[in-house]
Amino acid sequence: MARKLAKTSSSNIPSEIIEIILSKLSSVKSLLRFKTVSKSWNIIISDPLFIQNHLHSSNSSPNNNLFLSKYPNSTDRGFPLVKFERGKFHAGGIFEENIPNGYNLILRECNGVLLLARRLSGWNKFDKYALWNPSTRWQRYIETPYDFSEYYVVDHGICYDKIAGDFKVVFIFVTKYAIYSCNNDSWTEKKLGAKCHDIGFTDSGIFVDGAIYWILGVQSTNISGRQLLYFDPRTDEIKRLQKPEQLRSLCLYCYKYNKEEKSFNIWIKEKGIDVAENNVVIKEQSIRFVCYSPTDDKTVKEFEVFAVHCGRYIPYRNSLYFPAGVKTKTIKA
């Protein structure tokens, strides 16, 4: 019996395998284009689980070593992209254009979604906030109920609640904090139960393992001084981290390690050669860095890296994440 000869077997690739292939396509630009291929491809590429797998796969790709400068280049309009290679940052000639109009600072990052601010010339005062994913070019303005000439924002954060599929933005004020849920487009206020102040250039507010972590100065009846605080999006609570065993958190260890240091930064490093995914890198004084891995040997390792202003950069991720709902093309100035 003559075997039926198919011209190509590729038409028989089942959708589970198509999904695996597409999750390895780190170029978000290509994935968005391929939504046009067919309805079923559009469904695959828009699926939250696919988006999660895709980010995981592009985070662990060896080519994934790009970082965005938090501050725009003074001459060009754009946040410079840099490459992390052989333990150093290399400035490339690439700039990320298409920034939402008027925003001039990247505050925080979570799953490739950036919290932007418009900084007023002069000090650390902002009057407008927006979310932006540079790889999809989606942007969304965040309307706040606060008059920032009256309210001082001590620190910010952005996180993703995997269970609810919701991005949350957190503003820490001196005695309270406010949570903005992107899904509900609403703000919730809570009391801190202590007075918070920023201790200058800690550059914390990082998103690790489903929570946001900050190092802030805290004053209350029973504690004072630098503390590591975290926000859990499932409970909407900000808590102080007390014991290493309490959470599967890497930051605490690093925090302890650096307790005596005059200046430190917590900075997540999920890319590059020396550090495995989900390690936290801490800047100790100016040029020494330590990292802590919760999964490997649970030790703090010191390693030599980039010498300058690590707090300047945030990881650039090939990510399809963005809050559901409005994905404005361009925010009006």
Partner: protein, 163 residues
């Protein structure tokens, strides 16, 4: 049953177009599908692989032998995989991804699907439809709307030849 002696065991694999291949058991069990068959005691006779043709199976066996000859060195294994896949065309890669999936070979599956993704990166929507044999089920209006939403992603796409 594998004898408890030092002599390496050889398996015979049969493709769906009835080609026979001899391969060392130690290399063949990179495939979980084959390993399960061996453990179930099917290794004595011929192992039929009904979803893989001879051309693809020959290629997979080349890979099995090549990769199992490399000691535990992930760098070297990776560069072997890169080299192994570098000259394969799209159709061959598509056959291999199906074979790797059927044979349950995760390392080959990862490498081939990543390679296909890499090939696709700058390709047009038309190219993808042709190569994957996908029927465009959008109405012209729907297609225009999806395209309009991501207009910028159509810039810098390779011209539509068949490579």
């Amino acid at each position: 049953m594998a004898a408890e002696t030092g002599t390496p065991t050889t398996l015979t694999l049969k493709s769906n177009d009835d080609e026979l291949f001899s391969v060392a058991e130690s290399a063949a069990i990179l495939s979980v599908t084959i390993r399960n068959m061996v453990e179930d005691g099917c290794a004595g006779g011929v192992i039929p692989l009904d979803n893989v043709d001879g051309k693809t199976l020959a290629s997979v066996i080349t890979y099995m032998n090549g990769i199992s000859a490399i000691p535990a060195d992930e760098e070297k294994k990776k560069s072997y995989r890169d080299k192994f896949l570098s000259d394969k065309d799209f159709e061959t890669l598509a056959d291999m991804v199906l074979a790797a999936n059927y044979l349950n070979m995760s390392c080959l599956m990862d490498a081939v699907s990543a390679k296909i993704a890499q090939v696709m990166e700058k390709k047009s929507v038309g190219w993808v439809r042709r190569k994957f044999g996908i029927e465009n089920d959008y109405t012209p209006e729907e297609e225009a709307a999806v395209k309009e939403e991501h207009k910028w992603t159509f810039e810098g796409v390779e011209t539509d030849d068949d490579n």
